[in-house]
C-alpha cells in the first residue's frame, strides 16, 4: 500500500513524535536547543529549584547577543543589569555543562546567525530557542520555533516539548526577482498581504522558483520573519543549495556520516500530492523593494507607493492606522520614498549575514553617507565580522562614514545602548517596527540592506534601483 503523501512539516513531526496521552499534546523530541542570556535565567532558576540537571547538554548551546555591547569589547559594561545578565548566562552554562560561545569567543554572535554558520542547524531537525526568530533555521528544512521561558525549562529538563501539531500554509513565490529586489522584500510583501496575524496557528512552507533561486542567507531572511506574519515557523525544503552551504561546517556530519545525512535529507521535501491547509501564490516578477510605514511589520508597501489614508478603512482599522501614522509623524498620501532619516541600521538576525554586508557594501562602495546621518553596520556574528573584514568591507563602510561594530542584536532591540532617540527616524534591516522597539519614542522603517544602504547615501528613503549598478559613479548620487 502506498504511503499517504506528506508535507515536509508532517515528516519532521512524525519523526520526532515521542508519545501522547489521549487529549494531551504530543511530546515532541528536540534535537537542538539554542540559549541566550535574556530569556533563560528564570528557566535555570527553575531547574535549580527542582534539583534537576540539563538532560542533554550536548544538544544545547548558548551565546550572548541581546544585551551585549557592540563597542570595543575590552571596555567594561556600564549597564549594571546587562552585566549581571551576561555574568549569569556564563555561570549557568558552567554549572550545567552547556557549551557557551560568549564574550571573547570567535564563534559568538546572534543565536540565529551562529547556529547555521557552525553547521549546528541541519535539515529535518527540531530546533527551539527562547526567541521568536528561531524561525530563521527553517531555511534548512528544520522545524524551528520560538518558545517561552517555561518551555525553555521544559527542554532543559527533558529535551522535549509538549506541542500540538500546527497547520500548514504554503507560500509559493513564482517567477524571478528583479534586480534590486531581495529576500527581505519577499517576506515584507507577504506580511503586507496577509497581515501580522495572517499565519497564526500555521507553519509556512515557502516554495516556488523565486525561493529555489535564493541563497541560504536569503532563505534565512525569508524564514526569519515568518513570526511577523503570525506563523511560529517557516520552512524551506532542503536542496543542493542547502547541502553546499552545510558541507564542511564545524558541526555538520563528515565523511560517511555526511553521505548518510544527505541521503536522509533528500527524503524530506514535501511529497507530490500532499496537501496544505492553506496556500497563497505571489508573483515574484512583480515584487518591488518594500518599506514599512507604520508600527507593525504588516504596514508595508512597495517603495514607489504612497502612505495609505485612514479615511479609506473600516472604523477599527482606521483608528489603528491613525495611531500608527501619528506615532510615525507621517502624512496619508505622501510618498514613502523621500522620507527623511536620522539613523540607518544594517544588521540583526534578519539581515546581518555576510551576503547582507556585501549587499550594503556594494551600494556604499565609493560613496559617502549623507551629512548628519548616523549609520551603524553591525555584523550578525564574529565570524561574519571576520569574513567581512577579510573582504575589505569594513573599509568600505568606514570610508563611507558608517560605523563598523562588534556583533550583536544591537539596535534591533535596543537593549545594549544602541538605540534611536525619541522622535528619530531610522531605516533598519531588522524585523520589528513596533513602537519603541529600537529605542523609546524611536520611529522605524523596515527595509532590505540594499534599500537601507541606498537611503544612507541620500539621507532619505531611497529606491536602491536608482543606485544599484551605478557603484563608483558619484554623479548617480547627486542626481538623486
Amino acid at each position: 500500500m502506498a504511503e499517504k503523501p506528506r508535507t515536509l512539516l508532517e515528516k519532521i513531526w512524525d519523526d520526532h513524535f515521542v508519545a501522547s496521552d489521549p487529549g494531551a499534546p504530543a511530546i515532541l523530541a528536540i534535537d537542538l536547543h539554542l540559549v541566550h542570556e535574556v530569556t533563560s535565567p528564570q528557566a535555570f532558576t527553575g531547574l535549580r529549584s527542582r534539583g534537576l540537571k540539563v538532560r542533554k547538554p550536548g544538544q544545547t548551546v548558548a551565546t550572548a547577543d541581546h544585551s551585549i555591547p557592540t563597542l570595543d569589547p575590552s571596555l567594561p559594561i556600564l549597564d549594571e543589569l546587562a552585566r549581571k545578565q551576561l555574568a549569569q548566562i556564563e555561570e549557568n552554562c558552567r554549572e550545567f555543562g552547556i557549551p557557551f560561545h560568549g564574550q571573547g569567543s570567535p564563534t559568538r554572535g546572534i543565536v540565529h546567525v551562529i547556529g547555521p554558520e557552525l553547521g549546528l542547524t541541519q535539515p529535518g531537525m527540531t530546533i527551539v530557542c527562547g526567541d521568536s526568530h528561531t524561525a530563521t533555521h527553517g531555511a534548512f528544512g528544520a522545524l524551528a520555533f520560538g518558545i517561552g521561558t517555561s518551555e525553555i525549562e521544559m527542554v532543559l529538563a527533558t529535551q522535549t516539548l509538549l506541542q500540538r501539531q500546527p497547520k500548514t500554509f504554503r507560500v509559493q513565490i513564482d517567477g524571478r526577482l528583479q534586480p534590486g529586489v531581495g529576500a527581505k522584500d519577499i517576506i515584507l510583501a507577504l506580511i503586507a498581504r496577509i497581515g501580522v496575524g495572517g499565519g497564526t496557528g500555521h507553519v509556512f512552507e515557502f516554495t516556488g522558483d523565486a525561493i529555489r533561486a535564493l541563497s541560504m542567507e536569503e532563505r534565512m531572511t525569508v524564514c526569519n520573519m515568518s513570526i511577523e506574519g503570525g506563523a511560529r515557523a517557516g520552512l524551506i525544503a532542503p536542496d543542493e543549495t542547502t547541502f553546499a552551504y552545510l558541507a564542511g561546517r564545524k558541526f555538520a556530519p563528515q565523511g560517511a556520516a555526511w553521505d548518510d545525512a544527505v541521503a536522509r535529507w533528500r527524503k524530506l521535501p514535501t511529497d507530490a500530492g500532499a496537501t496544505y491547509d492553506r496556500t497563497i501564490v505571489i508573483d515574484g516578477d512583480r515584487l518591488e523593494p518594500m518599506v514599512t510605514y507604520g508600527t507593525n511589520p504588516g504596514m508595508g508597501l512597495p517603495i514607489s507607493g504612497r502612505i495609505p489614508s485612514p479615511a479609506d478603512l473600516e472604523p477599527a482599522a482606521r483608528e489603528d492606522l491613525e495611531r500608527a501614522l501619528a506615532y510615525m509623524g507621517l502624512q496619508p498620501g505622501a510618498s514613502i520614498a523621500g522620507q527623511k532619516l536620522d539613523v540607518v541600521f544594517i544588521g540583526s538576525c534578519t539581515n546581518g549575514r555576510i551576503e547582507d554586508m556585501r549587499a550594503a557594501a556594494s551600494v556604499l562602495r565609493g560613496r559617502h553617507v549623507a551629512e548628519g546621518l548616523r549609520v551603524l553596520v553591525v555584523p550578525g556574528s564574529q565570524q561574519v565580522k571576520k569574513q567581512a573584514e577579510s573582504e575589505g568591507l569594513d573599509s568600505v563602510f568606514k570610508a563611507a562614514g558608517a560605523e563598523w561594530r562588534e556583533s550583536g542584536c544591537s539596535m534591533c532591540i535596543a537593549m545594549n545602548g544602541d538605540q534611536l532617540e525619541p522622535g528619530e527616524y531610522g531605516i533598519s534591516t531588522s524585523n520589528r517596527n513596533f513602537q519603541g522597539r529600537q529605542g523609546k519614542g524611536g520611529r522605524s522603517f523596515l527595509a532590505s540592506p540594499l534599500t537601507a544602504a541606498a537611503s544612507a547615501v541620500t539621507g532619505v528613503i531611497t529606491d536602491p534601483r536608482t543606485l544599484v549598478g551605478a557603484a563608483s559613479q558619484p554623479s548617480a548620487v547627486e542626481a538623486h
Binding site: 535574556v38 552547556i98 527562547g130 518551555e151 521544559m154 477599527a316 489603528d320
Partner: protein
C-alpha cells in the same frame, strides 16, 4: 509551582486596539532582569510614561484609577504578537490580570499565558462587538470567568462558553506542573532516543568561554 485556578469575578479593562505586541506589553529594556519580580511596573510602560519619564495625561488604560485592581482585559485582535518573551504574561499576571478576551492571540503568547494560568479567551468578532458595546453601557459591571465551567457570566446574568486547550485547562485547574508530567514519561522519551541518535554534539571541540 503553579497554584490551582478555577474562576475569578472582576470588573473589566477595555483596550480597544488590535495587534498589541509584546514590546508594548513589556518593553525590551525590562528584559534584563534575571528573576520574575517587579514586572508589574513594566506593564505597558511606554503607554503610561512619556520618553522623559512623566506619567501621561490623561493616564493610559491601566493607570486610570477606576481600573486599579481589575483582573480581566478586553482587547483587539491578535493580542501578544511579536517577541516570545514570557515577561509579557509575567507582567500581566504581576499587575493582577487573570483573563484576556480577544478575537485571537499570537501563538507563542497564548502558550506562555497558559503556562502562567493567564487565560486567553477567544471570542468571535460578533461576540467581541457585543461585549465592547456592553462594556460601553456598563463599564463597572462585574464579569465572572469560570475555567471549570468554561463559561463567562456577564453582569446581566447571561453567559457564553469558551474553548481552551483541554490539557492546559486540566493543568491550570489542578495547578499541575508540566515538567513533572513529562518527566513521568521518561521511559517513552528514552525509548525514542534509543532509536534516534543525537544529530549533533554541541560540546565537540568547544573550549571558548
Amino acid at each position: 509551582m503553579p497554584e490551582p485556578f478555577v474562576s475569578t469575578t472582576s470588573r473589566v479593562i477595555s483596550i480597544p486596539r488590535a495587534n498589541i505586541d509584546t514590546d508594548q506589553i513589556c518593553p525590551a529594556r525590562f528584559l534584563k532582569i534575571t528573576d520574575k519580580a517587579n514586572l508589574a511596573d513594566a506593564l505597558f510602560f511606554d503607554w503610561r510614561f512619556t520618553p522623559d519619564g512623566a506619567r501621561r495625561v490623561p493616564p493610559s488604560f491601566i493607570d486610570e484609577p477606576v481600573n486599579s485592581g481589575r483582573q480581566i482585559l478586553l482587547v483587539g485582535d491578535n493580542f501578544g504578537s511579536g517577541s516570545s518573551r514570557e515577561h509579557a504574561p509575567w507582567a500581566l499576571r504581576a499587575w493582577g490580570i487573570r483573563a484576556i478576551v480577544s478575537t485571537s492571540f499570537a501563538d507563542i503568547f497564548k502558550g506562555n499565558s497558559l503556562k502562567n494560568a493567564l487565560l486567553p479567551i477567544v471570542v468571535t468578532p460578533e461576540r467581541h462587538a457585543v461585549l465592547t458595546a456592553l462594556l460601553g453601557d456598563n463599564p463597572d459591571g462585574e464579569w465572572t470567568v469560570d475555567l471549570e465551567a468554561q463559561q463567562v457570566t456577564l453582569p446581566d446574568g447571561s453567559t457564553f462558553g469558551f474553548e481552551l486547550d483541554p490539557f492546559a485547562r486540566t493543568m491550570i485547574l489542578a495547578g499541575t506542573d508540566e515538567v513533572g508530567y513529562v518527566l513521568g514519561q521518561l521511559p517513552a522519551i528514552e525509548a525514542w532516543e534509543a532509536t534516534h541518535p543525537a544529530r549533533v554534539d554541541t560540546r565537540e571541540g568547544v573550549t571558548a568561554r
